[in-house]
Amino acid sequence: MADDMKQDPEVERRDNPAAAAAEDDDDARRMVINIGPSHPAMHGIIRIVTELEGETVRKAEIEIGYLHRAFEKSAEHVGWNGVMPYTDRLNYVSPLINNFGYCMAVEKLMGIRPPERAEYIRTIMAELSRVGDHLTCVGASAMELNAFTAFLYFMAARELIYELVEDVTGARITIAYGRVGGVRSDLPEGFIPKALGFFKTIRKNIAEVHGLLTRNRIFYDRMRDTGVIHAADALDYGIMGPFLRGTGVAHDLRKAEPYHMYSRVEFVVPTGTRGDNYDRYLVRMEEMEQSLRICEQCFKQMAPGTHQADIPPEYLDANQMVDAAKHARTECLIDREARLSPNMEGQEHRHKRQVIADDKTAAMPSLGKTYSNIESLMNHFMLVMNCHGIRPPAGEAYAAVEGANGELGFYAVSDGTGYPHRVRVHPPCFPIVASLEQVLVGGMVADIIATFGSVNMIGGELDR
């Protein structure tokens, strides 16, 4: 019935000529302009169809999905551990946080807890990633306002973060470092002093950009009172993270529902007041400092790693180990470490047992054990064999971490097989991008760029 009531637009125009004329007038004054996906500021992964009146945006339509890779569907076909590298590609600017979020969901399903050192490492690496993410976001949005120099200062700082990440994980972006029950490997030797040295440079670069931008009149005018969203609206959209904190709501999962080691460290949750681009900029700048503080506290609190052990271990080549085990010469295997390839640093037995839960159903045995005893070999085999691997009991679990953009949630459903029944991601920038249709209206074309920069839209996370 309702469909019948709805009139043909042509008929409506004929019946109401005044409204039709007004509409025509509007149309004549407005220009539809298609920004993206091939537009310098849209990164090739989003399209905004805007209706302009002069240069004022009257309507904005956001079209997403240019980077859809079927993460959730793929996850159902690769086994619980196989999902890990896919999570790297969600928010590819801070992949470590995604890793840990997914791990937490599976750990919840299986009811295992990572050892303390692993939790510290997770905290440190997540905070490093957050710094890297904020550096990228603030730097890129400054660049889009043509403050190119600030961008490169931040890229120099991010390079240091990447170097630290590379030292620990062996890769810069596709790190696959999280493991159910812990992390893949221990921190490398000399990591903490190196990181502390880098923090000085990072702080110096942040201070430089503060000097270049924060009190720069042009930058202030571009950011202040543009892209405004009110706290109530932000909450209605389900926005979290710096975007919400910019409006004055001090919600941070690290405080609200502490995970990892966040309950043991001190940090401040910075908030803004007006919910505009400038507040979000300030929140991000302050969060970087807080993240560095968290890292430093973790360095202090962490028990010293096995690198500092008094007695250096005795090494044995893997093939010698296997031979000895085959001939049952087990006495020479006691307390021996397998000599691993240098790119597996930190995965020797004495390290591994500190950073991953002692749980045969989830954690791989260390390679030394795999080479030297049959139980570990079988355990290893069971975990890597197709259709076996990790098998959480049937059930469902939701775990959320504070991603760089807000709440990054993983909802995992297990049917008791070796493959996830469903892995659903709650991407933090999805609600933010949804709110853009409201936030952009009333601003100018140039504000789209400033606001879009402060959204920190990451295609991999948004489209999955």
Binding site: F148, R222, V445
Partner: protein
């Protein structure tokens, strides 16, 4: 030497200085920004393994520009699309006709004037050609049949018209002081001294006008922080649909305009080719010290001084470009109309009062 040959030689000299400087600026911009941003900058182009600190990039870039496809949008207007970059480059280059690049150099029996023409309307000619430059942008945006280019053209026209006014009015105070519109007279006037020791440069006589002129001048040359018409991360710019050497000409015109602004600031506010205390017969320091120099040596020092000043102001503009973010369109308009324009009018008033009371 016949008049025409003389004019041709001077034109050749000035064109080569300007074009070389403009081309050099493309390289300088890359190296300067690299220096500011802790990068290395352009250094890949090499001839036989010889890199020459990246200078070959100028050749590589221009070769690339020439070899690209010359593209005209299907529904664009070919005539205007082709004409636009020429207008931009022509207007920028023609301004140099009346800029004195140095004093009259005595060469043997003849004297060589380092300017192409000098008349009572030089300054008006400069302003007029500066305004005509809008047509290049406007034709480019209009004939491209592209909304981004169109927006860029609109912004460009609005911005250049608005800043034209502040620019022109800021100069009136200067004209009142110098009492002439001829750039040569203006430079000669600045050879005097204030209070016996301070060179009578425009920047000391009209400091406010100098600031306004520099600001409006950078706005006229459409470079960051006033690069609204381009705004490469917002609307890509009025030359969105340009490729090949047509784009190259716009690009070059941009840098020529940098040189224009630098040259005008030098001539109007920083004494042109004048060197402090350097008179026609040598240095005449305020303490009474006198250092005699041959007329030719004085002339060469002055030509060098002009080039050095020119270079300094080009460098200054590059530094500004890599330090500040971009304005927003409405903020730019507000700055022009509500801030620079009243200030420049106030400047005229103050200048007038001082001149009358003196």
């Amino acid at each position: 030497m016949s008049e025409i040959a003389h004019a041709l030689i001077v034109t050749g000299y000035i064109l080569s200085v300007v074009l070389t400087l403009a081309a050099l600026l493309t390289w300088m911009e890359r190296k300067q920004s690299a220096l500011m941003q802790d990068r290395i900058g352009a250094n890949r182009a090499s001839i036989l393994g010889f890199r020459a600190i990246g200078l070959f990039h100028i050749i590589a870039d221009s070769l690339k520009m020439f070899l690209k496809e010359d593209f005209v949008p299907a529904r664009g207007v070919r005539l205007f699309h082709t004409l636009a970059p020429f207008i931009s480059a022509f207007c920028a280059l023609a301004i140099f006709a009346c800029i004195p690049f140095g004093p009259s150099l005595p060469l043997g029996d003849t004297t060589v004037n380092l300017w192409i023409f000098d008349s009572d309307i030089s300054l008006l000619y400069v302003l007029a050609l500066g305004s005509l430059g809008i047509y290049g942008i406007f034709f480019a945006g209009w004939s491209s049949h592209n909304k981004f280019a169109y927006l860029g053209a609109m912004r460009g026209a609005a911005q250049m018209l608005s800043y034209e006014i502040a620019l022109g009015i800021s100069l009136i105070g200067l004209i009142m002081v110098y009492g002439s519109l001829s750039l040569n007279d203006i430079v000669h006037y600045q050879g005097r001294q204030l209070f016996g020791f301070l060179p009578a440069w425009g920047v000391f006589l009209q400091p406010l006008a100098c600031l306004i002129f520099l600001t409006a001048g950078i706005a006229e040359s459409k470079r960051n922080p006033f690069d609204m018409p381009e705004g490469e991360s917002e609307i890509i710019g009025y030359f969105t649909e340009y490729s090949s050497m047509k784009f190259g000409l716009f690009f070059l015109a941009d840098f020529i305009e940098v040189v224009v602004v630098a040259a005008l600031v030098t001539v109007l506010f920083f004494g042109g080719w004048q060197v402090p205390y350097l008179q026609a017969d040598g240095f005449q320091l305020p303490g009474g010290t006198h250092w005699e120099l041959a007329p030719l040596a004085v002339g060469l020092i002055q030509v060098g001084a002009f080039c050095a000043k020119l270079f300094f102001f080009c460098w200054l503009q590059l530094t500004i470009r890599w330090t500040l973010p971009r304005f927003r369109y409405d903020q730019l308009m507000r700055l022009g109309w509500q801030f620079l324009l009243p200030l420049s009018i106030a400047n005229i008033l103050v200048t007038g009062i001082i001149l009358v009371c003196r």
